[in-house]
Amino acid sequence: MNQPTWYALTGVILFSMGIHAFVIRTHLVRRILAFNIMGSGVFLLLVAIAHRIPGAAPDPVPHALVLTGIVVSVSFTAFGLVLLKKIYAKTGKTALIDPTESTSDQTN
Amino acid sequence: MMFEEWISSALVCAGAFFYLAGTLGMLRFPDIYTRLHAVTKADNLGLGLLAAGLMLRAESWPAMIKLALIWMLALVTSATACYLVANNALRAGLPPVLGRYRSGSRP
């Protein structure tokens, strides 16, 4: 058990908590936050497994992947928040699923 | 060389002490205005002492100038943020705690 393994374990825990919250929450801001936590867990795992040989320089390919992933995740966060503001302005709701009524009789 | 190291270590320790003072003020002060005081004054003084201590051990002149610039940038941004928050809080009507404050009567 060395330092990158420790951080990889943290990434796995963060991913599990994020996907749990992503499934059970319906508020869209909470879903976006949970999605960001999930992404952070995956990035942490990727950078931690880039240290393959202890003491040597880390593998640069996962670093490039993670850099791209951070930029993509922040652009998707911005896009999701703009969609959320549009949904709120049109319907006054902050969730796509209304938990008080059943969804079986809806067509779309 | 030895003398410089001692001075540098003392400055870093003093900076850590002012950070501790800022955190204690953050926890113990009663209202938003005094907490702003703790965050923007004590923490930035701690950062300045820390940067001064690291400047003595910097490897070149540009590194020293960069450390000083980091401190000045932190001063400018935190002064701006402090003014905005305090002005908005006063105009919003958050009441400052006046008179003698007793630690038992936490608001």
């Binding site: 060395n2 943290t10 825990i13 801001v29 709120y88 | -």
Partner: protein, 93 residues
């Protein structure tokens, strides 16, 4: 690998896990957003500890600068007075 690095890494990872847990189970939306900004700052420190300063630069710029601004803007727009009543039943869960 001394004991001090273990203390630092243990504190950092424990704080990250606790922060993620408390922000995901927080009822107040604004509090969750502030906790998310703090989580981003700790993530930048974690990249530094993993010797990836380029990712730390990107994370500092994006999480401290961009994400917090966007989330605060969206939460402020949701909370602002609106003729349509806000759906509070989806908040609990």
């Amino acid at each position: 690998m001394t004991a001090l690095t273990w203390i630092f890494d243990g504190l950092l990872t424990a704080a990250m896990v606790y922060l993620a847990w408390s922000l995901l189970s927080e009822r107040d939306l604004f509090k969750a957003v502030v906790l998310f900004i703090a989580f981003g700052l700790l993530m930048a420190l974690a990249w530094v500890r993993l010797r990836a300063p380029d990712i730390a630069l990107a994370e500092a710029a994006i999480s401290a600068g961009l994400s917090g601004v966007l989330l605060l803007d969206a939460v402020g727009a949701i909370r602002s007075p609106n003729p349509v009543p806000e759906d509070t039943s989806s908040d609990s869960g």
